[in-house]
Amino acid sequence: MARFGIVVFPGTWSDRDSYNAVHDQLGQDARYIWHKEHDLQGVDCVILPGGFSYGDHLRCGAVAALSPVMAEVVEFAARGGLVIGICNGFQVLCEAHLLPGALMRNRTMEFRCQPATLRVENPDTAFTRGTGRGTLLRVPVSHGEGNYFADAETLRGLEGSGRVVFRYVDATGDATAESNPNGSLNNIAGILNQSGNVLGMMPHPERASEHLLGSADGLVIFRSIVDSAARVLAG
């Protein structure tokens, strides 16, 4: 059993959905960590969930990145702890410089809540070990600012080192312009940090956690984390 710490900033709302996925669906230990806390309670994995932390004012994730708990998350990540940032959590990770680049307004300037298909570009990560290269996952997006941007050199670095983990594709697996919901460079939906223990993704795997809700494809990501945590313990 893995222990997940779900960070709650003012304005976070997918904390409860993340709990629903990892605790109710996968039976893992999960606890909420209020942003003012300094104790990560010995968790194996930190989830920075979706939402509108601080109302998304100024820049999405900018104010949350300065919260007390983020100092602990930075340290946790430096020690190799697993961190997954979903949607607003991805934005927080970029603002906290745990991941490169930035998430800009969607190309259409509109919020988009819709199904998306993700292609797994790298199955050899702590977050995707339960998948294979090219596996397609049905995971919805729900954001207004998910348009991934990085300068050319950063982008080359990400692409060249297998750190682009998920890409938006169409139903047949092609990364087309129409399948890109927000205008992200190279259809990027999720990226990894250099040491491979911090993942940021705009789509919501915690929403794709039950067939009743339309898809359970997101669970493989949390299962992979559980598996990775067990391997760390096994040494």
């Binding site: 601080y54 109302g55 004012h57 100024l58 104010v63 300065l66």
Partner: protein, 92 residues
Amino acid sequence: MARFHADVHIELKPLVNDPAGLVIRDALRHIGFEGVAGVRAGKYLSLELQAHDRVDAEARVAEMCRKLLANPVIEDFRFEVRETAPAESIPA
């Protein structure tokens, strides 16, 4: 036609609630800038446009503000226009 650059500032009217300004003010105080008494958040647009002359450019920008850029019910706008390339350099 000549080319102009316009700097447009759009601000909430003084009495209108400004949730963004409040969040920024509180965040600045939280990270140690206690002396921040207030923050108002606005927009700043820079436009490149063609116009016959400065008077024409200003009239156009004012109209853009009224029609699209600003929301006159809750926002005020102001702008400055400067010429970046004179008429003779640009084919009509």
